[in-house]
């Protein structure tokens, strides 16, 4: 005799990547419905902005997405620069792009490790963290911080990169492809992995668009939208790269797309390093950030972060404080689409499918 039970998953659950609560309805082990409950990590980022000057808010934006701090930092700086009509030197933009792409690799590596952990494989986590550690050390050397960098400033970056640092980046990107191919050898055709991901959590392109899913999740559903390509910001228009995409629509496709994206990021980093080694220029347009008064106006920056489209909307009323700041993040919409993906699946697929979406909670709750 089957009885429908309500099961509460989370908020303190090791596989919810933060604090997400899922209210599930189960018939035996079959999932009937899932209701995500968010807000456990709400820090009021948008309200805090209204009580601070533009410069005071700058260190806080790194906390919106702590695994992709450079993206949020860039989105905010870009919006402020656009409102101020400040031109950013090309060298600064290249440094920013380099940082963002390394950040994307670090973020995807962490995703890969934790996704494997969600599926029950504990050793990949250590290998992924081994490589991620190198990137974090590079960031630490550059910015003084391992996670909350506060390195981008209005008009450029805080200080220039050294040749020595660029050499270290070069040697890192020379070594990473081997690690990635190792992961692929272990994971891509692993029967257990295939069993857990193939045809699981199917996200049809129409559903993805309806739910405004962006980033790798959308590209894994066969919709080729990458804001680096379709609306080039920073200096993405100057570099060559391919958009990774898959038509499979399932968890496996999302894995394939992210692995491809790491390789794409490596290509971009390579080109950025080459440019920075051969061109010297100013790395910062000096503006008086302390008494920053921004003319009235509003601007939305579009950034392709590692978890999808990142928007930073700023409205200024001419005073030293922003009138309104609004963050639009990728995870926010990926959480919302989860019930559609897991309906009818077995309970043990819930975490596997959720892991494949690469959701982190600080970005959802802000």
């Amino acid at each position: 005799m089957n009885k429908i039970i309500k099961l509460n998953v989370g908020p303190q659950h090791p596989s919810t990547h933060g604090v997400l609560r899922l209210i599930t309805e189960l018939d035996g082990e079959k999932i009937l419905s899932v209701e995500p409950v968010v807000g456990y990590l709400h820090r009021g980022m948008e309200k805090l902005a209204e009580n601070r000057s533009y410069l005071q808010y700058l260190p806080m934006v790194d906390r919106v997405d702590y695994l992709g701090s450079f993206f949020t930092s860039y989105a905010y700086c870009n919006a402020v620069e656009k409102l101020l009509f400040v031109e950013v030197p090309k060298r600064a933009e290249y440094i920013r792009m380099l940082c963002m792409e390394l950040n994307r690799i670090a973020s995807h590596l962490l995703w890969l490790g934790t996704f494997m952990l969600d599926l029950g494989a504990s050793s990949p986590l250590f290998y992924c963290f081994r490589d991620r550690e190198v990137i974090l050390s590079l960031f630490e050397e550059l910015t003084g911080q391992r996670m909350m960098y506060n390195y981008f400033v209005f008009g450029g970056v805080r200080h220039d990169v050294s040749d020595d640092w660029l050499c270290k980046v070069s040697s890192f990107i020379a070594n990473l492809p081997k690690s990635i191919s190792d992961y692929e050898k272990i994971i891509t055709e692993n029967p257990i992995f295939l069993d857990r991901t193939l045809n699981k959590g199917i996200l049809k392109p129409q559903t993805a668009l309806q739910f405004s899913v962006t980033g790798p999740n959308l590209r894994a559903s066969g919709v080729e939208v990458d804001y680096r390509k379709v609306m080039p910001y920073s200096v993405y228009g100057d570099v060559d790269f391919v958009i990774s995409e898959s038509n499979r629509c399932d968890s496996y496709a999302r894995y394939l797309v992210r692995i491809q994206e790491m390789k794409t990021s490596l290509d971009i980093v390579k080109q950025a390093v080459l440019y920075l080694k051969n061109n010297s220029d100013n790395y910062l347009t000096k503006i008086n950030s302390l008494n920053l008064k921004i003319p009235e106006g509003e601007y939305t920056s579009y950034v392709e972060s590692s978890r999808g489209l990142l928007n930073c909307y700023i409205k200024s009323d001419g005073s030293p404080k922003p009138y309104r700041v609004k963050w639009r993040t990728g995870s926010y919409y990926s959480v919302q689409v989860l019930p559609e993906l897991v309906k009818g699946l077995n309970y043990n697929d819930l975490i596997a499918v959720f892991g494949s979406l690469d959701v982190i909670m600080p970005e959802v709750d802000r």
Binding site: G39, H42, E46, K47, L209, Q210, F211, E298, N311, Y313
Partner: protein
């Protein structure tokens, strides 16, 4: 900015530098923008709410994946009651819950509306400019 003459023929709108201001039925306008092939705005990337003191401005940020264009549609809400667009774009559900939570706007047609981030028992709507936290249950107000 896209050519909006077709929209302005059919709908009562004003055109601003960065957005179009909707003085008509928002659901019909969004449906039109979504289903007209030359626009094909198939994604509502987000809804931004701004407290303008005289009312709440809702900015619907649309994106078309096939035509690669963005469009911001603005609608001013004066009596704390807006129309829900969940029927047109399902992604709007979280956005509307958040706006209800932070600005106290009710969405007609969204019958599952709830506070998204703040606890159900929270008093007031934090992102309103007039918001003052005088809740005596909180330790710092004692």
């Amino acid at each position: 900015m896209i050519d909006v003459s077709v929209i302005s023929e059919k709908f009562n709108i004003e055109v601003n530098e960065t957005k179009i201001i909707c003085n008509c039925d928002i659901i019909r306008l969004l449906e039109f923008l979504k289903n007209t092939p030359e626009y094909n705005f198939n994604m509502l990337t987000s809804i931004v709410a701004v407290d303008m003191i005289s009312g709440i401005e809702l900015i619907y940020q649309l994106y078309s994946t096939s035509n690669n264009i963005i469009l911001n549609v603005s609608k001013i809400i004066e009596n704390n009651l807006a129309q829900s667009v969940v029927e047109v774009f399902k992604s709007a559900y979280f956005d509307e819950c958040e706006i209800y939570d932070m600005f106290g706007i009710n969405f007609e047609g969204n019958n599952k509306i709830k506070r998204l981030f703040m606890p159900e028992s929270w008093i007031g709507h934090p992102l309103l400019k007039s918001y003052k936290n005088e809740d005596m249950r909180l330790a710092w107000n004692e």
